[in-house]
Amino acid sequence: MKGSIPEYKGVWTLGEQRGKEISSVSYELLAWGRGLADKLKTELSSVLVGHKISEENIQSLIHRGADKVYVVDHPLLEHFTPDGYGKVLKKLIEEYKPSIMIASATTIGRTVMPVLAAMIETGLTADCTGLDIEEGTGLLLQTRPAIGGNVMATIKTPEHRPQMATVRPKSKRPLPADNSRKGEVIKKEYPEDIYSSKVKFLEFVKDKTAEAPIQEADVVIAGGKGLKDGKNFKMLYKIAKLLDGAVGASRQAVDMGWIPYSHQVGLSGKTVSPRLYVAMGISGAVQHLAGMSSAETVVAINSDPDANIFKVSDFGIVGDLFDIAPVLISKLKEIKNQRK
């Protein structure tokens, strides 16, 4: 919506539930939101839409930084629908007029936010890795990688409200839970036609090979052409398990049919920002780097000393991964056993 900007106040985050659990991205958003709200000296609120939302989940958002939680709970909202959730969020925004609304760049966030932005005709910036408040104007500065992470762009929404953005998962660590924090809970009800959707949910089928979505993993162990065979991904799964991580792959490995597409990291795959990214047998084509160069720490193991991947690594081993991986696995096991 354009105009009457002073009416719009406060920072909102979209809470996400997966099944009965609050998804950790909801807490990451609150960490971003808390910083923004404090700078603006305004309130931080979280919105939770779903069905059978527990009091515990609502309170957990307050413990992680929310001053207020808006809850809309109805059987029709049990499963995510773009139009159903979109209409609910539109109603809330029209009534309470937040200045900023952020969601995580998950499949839910990246679907409902453009739908919502279209419904209320405001701006939306995708997949931000940095959010800040501009001094003087108080506008939201939305920074995101563009063109394969080679360029960073900072974007503003000067005249429309709310200022909306999706934020890349793992781009900020959640605040520690403070169980003494108190907040206000506002439960809203709307007519059923607000909740209803043209999209009918039928079933969810779990992908056993994708236990942890790679975008949300703290540690990603990725393999490429250098693995030579799909069965060698087993080594990576072992390492990933020892480090509580997920397994990623280069495009070549996916194209060879060694591992499903859901594991692909890069320009035409997923973008990840884990704390630790280990690239094994990955040469580091520009398209791959685009999907992982914002990882906090990058380790590369490659037999080619000139491999591009070393240029974006913090630690590199030039050597045969088939010699190194087994040693790494056994030493990680040792460490794990010692700590038990």
């Binding site: 990246r110 419904m119 236990e211």
Partner: protein, 264 residues
Amino acid sequence: MKIAVLVKQVPATEKVKMDEKTGTMIRSGMEAEANPLDMYAVEEAVRVKEKLGEDTEITVISMGPPMAIDAIKDALSMGCDRGYLVSDSALAGADTLATAYTLSKTIQKLGGFDLIFTGERATDGETGQVGPSVGAQLDMPVLTYVSKIEELNGTHIRVRRAIEGGYEVVEAPLPSLISVVKEINEPRIPNLKGKIRAKRADIPTLTAKELELDTSRIGLEGSPTRVVKIFYPKLSRQTKIVSGKDPELAVEELLKFLEEKELI
């Protein structure tokens, strides 16, 4: 059945070169191509047509500069029936909302479609917002991250959506907008006949005036977002390299490094 596919022309990333000193992209002489992720949408549309028969028509729509006509031709060479280029200097600088407004008006002007296909996102802007926004502006169901069409008849579509941790099966009435992910298919290589047909195709250009667009909602003027700064991130990593000739030693060093960083 009337099908539309939305395609975008992007810089040819396969040919992107990096400046090793600055870690930035060398842009001079950059070539353009049809967004690779849109080709999965084109392929899926063509497969639907092959299944449903000849009374299915596929229209390709692209918004961009005159040269974007090449992206439309790529789609035609794979088996789409006709193409329209939406091109006008008044559209320059459009963000995702203004682009989606322009495309949704184009879709209405062309008489509407039963099914609209898009790619997951474009490899240049990487927003993935235009597809869902078009669907919302046309008030039709938006099915994102589609990895498989399970069933399609004259009134309904049932699809798999690839989401975190697995997939969900959902159903929606037509018309619907579908954005597809890469795993849905393997786009075909156009044959000579297709290429010739694409080359000869008459691809009309539609302007803002012809589409009767609200000028306050198009181009830079109609875009709520503004890019205020562009900067080049430096690849600021201090790489420590060790030899793997002695795997034991190399792994010891790695683990020490990870411990220092509190990663293990």
